[in-house]
Every structure is written in structure tokens, then in C-alpha cells.
């Protein structure tokens, strides 16, 4: 059994204790005193192995010197950071609320979140399903801890333009949000407009360059997913740019 399973409703603890313990650290100390620490919190991770595992996270999260926000928030300065506070990133209201109620990121909370993101923060936009093995989580957290002390980019909310390898034509286009709104009706049959991710990733509020890149990766079969590959077959540059402009303009709820 792991820590997160013992804490059946982490948000409940935050909610219940929030009035007494506005300081997140004090709250976590209380939580830790009641429950044995998971292995991840004891710090015996292998950062090198964590770096390899982190490749699965990299398409959304940047970390290290000059990291910027992408589909997910950058992870520099993550340790000790209050949840949901990076300027320029569109968080779910669930994440923002938990941050305001005292959720801070550290080895303990990251371990619980990474194990089952949607159980730990119901309503999170992160579509990652979870990392089951405790050693994997421990190693990734060790890697993040080592790297997250680097300074973020001076303008972390800037688009991830420099990382775009393909779809350059669409990237240069100014998308028509009105056209995008019409086209979006095909997407929202599965992807919720609210930005919630219940088994299908959230696509609301992404930086437009990241949105375009991902659609091109499906269109060119670099990314494998039957529905998305099929959906993007008939999308031209103008349509992809329009969708990126529209979904990028929305705020998750």
C-alpha cells in the first residue's frame, strides 16, 4: 500500500484542515506524522533513471534551465511551489483551489499525484493516467528535484516556438477562431469543453504552437492513436491553425 491509497481523499484533508493550517508545510507535516512516509519521500531515487522515465512527461512539461510552460506547466522551482500558481499557465480550477488551500509540491505530494493524478486532484487537466511502480515515481521525483533548482526562462509563458520541428506552415498561420469554433464541435464529442480529463485528454487552453505540433504529429503518424490519426487526416493547415486558435482562447473551468 502506498501513501496515496491511505489518504483516500487528499483534497478532503486539505479542505478540512485548511482553516486551521493555512501553511501548506505545517499541514503536510501533520499528514506525515499520521502516516508512514512512502518510499518516494525518503529520497532514495536514481535521478539518471528518472531522466529516462521523464521522457514520457517531456512532451508536455519542460524542466531545467530556461524551461517554459507548454501543454503543462514548466517544472522549474517545483519543490516547495504552491500548486496552480505559475503565471501565464491555464490551470484547472481544481488545481488552483487545492493550491489556495495549501497544496505544496514536495516528494510526498508528488508521489501521491503521480501515482493517480485524477484520484489525487479530481478535475486536473493532466491526462496522464499515473505511474504505478513506486520505484519509478521515486526516480522521477529524484530527477525533478535535482533539476528543478535551475532558473526558469525569463518569459516562461512564451510559446514553445523553438521546439517546433514540423508543421511549420501551420505554425505561421493566424488561425480563425470562428472557424475553429465550428471545427471544435467534432472534438468536443470526446474532449470536454470544460477542460476536464476523464479518460480523454484535456485540450483546452494549450499554447497554440503545442496544439499545432501535436495535431501534425497525429496527421503524420508520428503519434499513434487511431481516432486522432483518422480525425486529422482531413485537416489542412488552415483548419489546424483555426482549432489551435480557438482552443487556445478558452479557459479551463
Amino acid at each position: 500500500m502506498t501513501g496515496s491509497e491511505r489518504i483516500k481523499t487528499p483534497q478532503g484533508i486539505f479542505l478540512g484542515a485548511a482553516a486551521l493550517l493555512r501553511g501548506g508545510w505545517a499541514l503536510l507535516a501533520a499528514g506525515c506524522a499520521l502516516l508512514p512516509l512512502p518510499a518516494a519521500a525518503s529520497g532514495k531515487g536514481d535521478p539518471a533513471r528518472g531522466e529516462t522515465l521523464f521522457k514520457a512527461c517531456k512532451s508536455c512539461h519542460q524542466v531545467g534551465a530556461n524551461a517554459r510552460n507548454g501543454v503543462g506547466p514548466h517544472l522549474d522551482g517545483l519543490f516547495g511551489r504552491q500548486a496552480g500558481v505559475l503565471e501565464g499557465f491555464k490551470y484547472s480550477s481544481a488545481m488552483k483551489t487545492l493550491g489556495e488551500e495549501g497544496l505544496l509540491w514536495n516528494a510526498f505530494t508528488l508521489d501521491a499525484y503521480l501515482e493517480k493524478p485524477r484520484a489525487y486532484v479530481p478535475g486536473t487537466r493532466m491526462s496522464y493516467l499515473g505511474m504505478r511502480k513506486i520505484q519509478d515515481r521515486t526516480d522521477v521525483i529524484a530527477y525533478l528535484k535535482a533539476l528543478s533548482q535551475e532558473a526558469p526562462a525569463s518569459d516562461p509563458q512564451a510559446d514553445t516556438q523553438t521546439r517546433a520541428e514540423i508543421g511549420a506552415a501551420a505554425m505561421g498561420l493566424e488561425g480563425d477562431p470562428e472557424y475553429g469554433e465550428y471545427l471544435s464541435s467534432e472534438c468536443v464529442t470526446c474532449h470536454q469543453m470544460s477542460g476536464r480529463a476523464d479518460g480523454i485528454p484535456s485540450i483546452v487552453g494549450w499554447p497554440s504552437q503545442a496544439f499545432i505540433r501535436v495535431l501534425f504529429e497525429y496527421k503524420t503518424n508520428i503519434r499513434s492513436h487511431q481516432v486522432m490519426q483518422n480525425m486529422t487526416t482531413n485537416l489542412g493547415n488552415e483548419e489546424i491553425a483555426a482549432l489551435a486558435a480557438y482552443f487556445g482562447s478558452l479557459d479551463p473551468q
Partner: protein, 425 residues
């Protein structure tokens, strides 16, 4: 007053769409009125999109006989014990409160097309400028000799979710080891092509979970092949060896009759006796399609592939299972997709908003056994004579467990997504 700019035809023409050129129409007094008959996956979506996108410019009314809607999609998962009935039951309150739709909870009998009024069962009339007809299917009970609406109380069809689904579930739960279930599968075209075979998978799952080692499920099929056949057959051999038998017409030779009193299904080959018989008869468009004169000899309604407009009445659109949608299957996903095209066309005509080229899509997920989901889907575009498939995909046999689990989890996400898209948030 609505914006009285001219309609934008350019984009539709650019797509080669053959739209009926109609004058911009607005009522001399008051807002233009869009009325929708049927609050299922097609009708409720259309009402919501028209109300959401037109705001104050359009008066939207949704007519639906039932106070709540139980989705046919995922009702097999209720039979299999994966979902509660409550979790697939939806109300219309958000459509009324959050989108300003007038929800009329009553039965529509027919349409006075001359007067452009829906005639309700109690004689009341609901006037419209544009009407969307989305009644789903009606069952042709006598397509299976011996079957009738009354017989459905003994041999449930459960092909319209509701009391029939509950009846089938209670009958399934009462099956004991050693007993036999017979399904009479429907002929094409019918609602939810993979549905009967997903249902059989769910029945088998129930029996297997109870440790039954001597139950049989026999499918008597009027079709020589069926949707996702390779995937289902592979799954049945893997999870339920020896439990499921499928007979196509070349084996059984034809379904002669069913007898609700004895539980027998007579075919040219043999008589099959079921302790439970699930008869899914042939289908046609919901009753109002015929009473309003919108259906052709096929029992379904011909439409313009570029807009879902009825070929019979230019002020009426038919969407969902009741329409003849070319290559698109009759599914909740298809109906939801068609609804958006029709809603856009009507909004364009009544409020002058921009009309973009029609695009359609569909995906059907099916569950074979716990965490083993498969899917089939396609994109569609209007062609001259029908809605035509432009690209498609299907799950492959031999896929690994992780992919099948991801497909199942995706279907759960889709359910949440599409029901939010239909009934609002």
C-alpha cells in the same frame, strides 16, 4: 431582431455542397423559431448547439415525451454490471436552465407541414420556422413472425433503453447455470451495428463471473457477417470458450418464427430453445417520420448529405437513426455529429450566421470483457448522392492488453464527453 445579413454561401459552394438555395427567412414579429422533435443524442445536441450558438437570436424548443433519457449507448455495460442505470440516465434541466431551451415534455403526433406546426398528441400545436425531426427508431415487431409488442414483455428486445433494458437485466440475472440464452439479431440497417455482439459479450461476462460453466448463448443472425466480427470472435474464444455460438443465414437457413410461450426460435435448420430469448427485430424511423410523410419506402428518411435537410420538405431536417445517412452507421455518435451540421445550417438560415462545409465523424467503442475495449470509426463528407466515408480505422486482432485497456478507458471518457455535449453542463 435577428441580424438580417445575407447568408454566406461561399464556403458551402466551395465544398461542392448541393444546398437548396432558400431565401433568408425571419418572422415579421418575434424571433425565428427552431423546433426539435426528440431529445436523444441527435435532437438534444441540435437544440443545445442552436441555443448556445445563436443566443438571443433564436427561439429553440425541444419536444420529448420522456422526462429523462436513458442512453442506448453504454446500456450493454449496465447489462454486464459495469454501470448503474442511474449513470446512463440524463435529464433535460440543464438544457432549459443554462441554454434557455423551451423543453416540452409531451408526445408529438405528427407535423402539419403546410402550416409549419408540430401537432401534439393532445391537439396542441407548436409552430416552427425550421424543424429538426430526430425520433430515433421504431421496431418492426412483425419482421420476426410470432413476435409482437406484447411478446416483448416475455422476449425483451431492449433496443430502446428504458423499461425493456431493466427487464432484460433482471431476466439475465435470473439465468442459472446450465440454461441457454438465444438472441435473434436484427437485419441491416439497424441502430448500433456492434451492439448485439457487445451485448452477447456482456451476457457471457456475467455468466463467467458467476462461475457458470454450462451456459450457452446462441445468436441467430439474419446477416452473413457483422460489425467487428473478427474482434468479437477472437475475444469470445479467448474469454468465453465454448459459450457463444453464432449462426449466420447460410447455416440456419432463415428464421421461421419465435414462440414467446415456449421460448422457441424456429429456423430452417433446427428449433432453438432459450430460457431467455432476446429478439432484436428489424427497424424503421420513429413513428413521426412516417406520419409526417418524411420517410421513403425503406422506412427511413432521405436527406441532403450537405446539411441533413429532408429531401421531402425544405423546412425540415432529419438527423440520427431516422435518417438515411449514407455510409454513417446509426449510432449516438453519428447523431451527435449530424446534429451539429443541421444546427449550423438552420442557424445560418434563420440568423444569417456563417455556414461552414459539413463534416461528419463517428466512433463506436465496444467492450468484450473487463478492460478489453475495441473501436471502429470513420470520417465522412457529403458526396453528390450520400454521406460518404473518407477515411476509417478499426482495432486490430491481437492487440496488447494495455492498448485494449486504454481503449476501454477512452470509451468511458467519451461517454462523459458526449453526454456533456448532448445534455449540457
Amino acid at each position: 431582431m435577428p441580424n438580417i445579413s445575407r447568408r454566406t454561401f461561399g464556403l458551402m459552394m466551395g465544398a461542392g455542397a448541393s444546398t437548396l438555395a432558400m431565401p433568408y427567412y425571419a418572422r415579421a414579429q418575434g424571433k425565428p423559431r427552431a423546433v426539435v422533435i426528440g431529445g436523444g443524442a441527435g435532437g438534444a445536441t441540435a437544440a443545445r448547439y442552436m441555443a448556445k450558438d445563436a443566443g438571443e437570436d433564436l427561439d429553440v424548443t425541444l419536444i420529448e415525451a420522456n422526462p429523462q433519457y436513458i442512453t442506448c449507448f453504454f446500456s450493454n455495460l449496465y447489462l454486464g454490471g459495469y454501470r448503474s442505470l442511474a449513470s446512463i440516465t440524463h435529464g433535460y434541466d440543464k438544457l432549459a436552465s443554462n441554454y434557455g431551451i423551451t423543453v416540452v415534455n409531451a408526445f408529438a403526433d405528427t407535423v402539419d407541414r403546410e402550416a409549419r406546426e408540430v401537432v401534439m398528441a393532445d391537439g396542441a400545436r407548436v409552430p416552427y420556422d425550421r424543424l429538426i425531426v430526430a425520433p430515433g427508431i421504431d421496431l418492426i415487431y412483425d419482421s420476426v413472425p410470432g413476435y409482437s409488442e406484447e411478446a416483448a414483455g416475455i422476449m425483451p428486445h431492449a433496443w430502446k433503453a428504458g423499461p425493456q433494458t431493466k427487464l432484460l437485466k433482471s431476466r439475465l440475472d435470473a439465468i442459472e447455470n446450465g440454461q441457454q440464452v438465444v438472441m435473434v439479431a436484427p437485419p441491416n440497417p439497424y441502430r448500433c451495428p456492434p451492439g448485439p455482439y457487445e451485448r452477447v459479450s456482456m451476457m457471457a461476462h456475467l455468466f463467467k463471473e458467476k462461475g457458470y460453466d454450462d451456459c450457452k448463448i446462441v445468436i441467430i443472425d439474419p446477416k452473413p457477417k457483422f460489425s467487428k466480427q473478427g474482434l468479437f470472435t477472437e475475444g469470445w474464444e479467448k474469454y468465453y470458450p465454448g459459450m457463444i455460438e453464432w449462426y449466420g443465414p447460410d447455416v440456419h437457413g432463415g428464421i421461421a418464427s419465435v414462440d414467446p410461450q415456449t421460448g422457441e426460435v424456429e429456423t430452417d435448420l433446427d428449433t432453438f430453445k432459450g430460457d431467455l430469448v432476446n429478439v432484436i427485430p428489424a427497424q424503421k424511423a420513429g413513428m413521426i417520420a412516417a406520419s409526417a410523410g418524411l420517410a421513403n419506402d425503406s422506412g427511413f428518411c432521405p436527406i441532403d448529405p450537405a446539411s441533413m435537410r429532408s429531401q421531402i420538405d425544405e423546412n425540415i431536417f432529419v438527423i440520427g437513426d431516422a435518417s438515411i445517412a449514407g455510409d454513417m452507421p446509426k449510432s449516438g455518435f453519428s447523431a451527435n455529429s449530424q446534429a451539429k451540421v443541421a444546427a449550423m445550417a438552420i442557424r445560418g438560415e434563420l440568423t444569417g450566421s456563417k455556414v461552414f462545409p459539413a463534416k461528419y465523424s463517428n466512433t463506436c467503442w465496444s467492450l468484450i470483457e473487463t478492460n478489453d475495449g475495441v473501436k471502429v470509426g470513420a470520417q465522412y463528407a457529403p458526396a453528390a448522392d450520400k454521406i460518404a466515408s473518407t477515411s476509417s480505422f478499426i482495432s486490430q486482432t491481437g492487440e496488447d492488453d494495455a492498448l485494449r485497456q486504454a481503449t476501454y478507458e477512452e470509451s468511458v471518457g467519451w461517454y462523459k464527453g458526449i453526454t456533456t455535449d448532448i445534455f449540457g453542463a
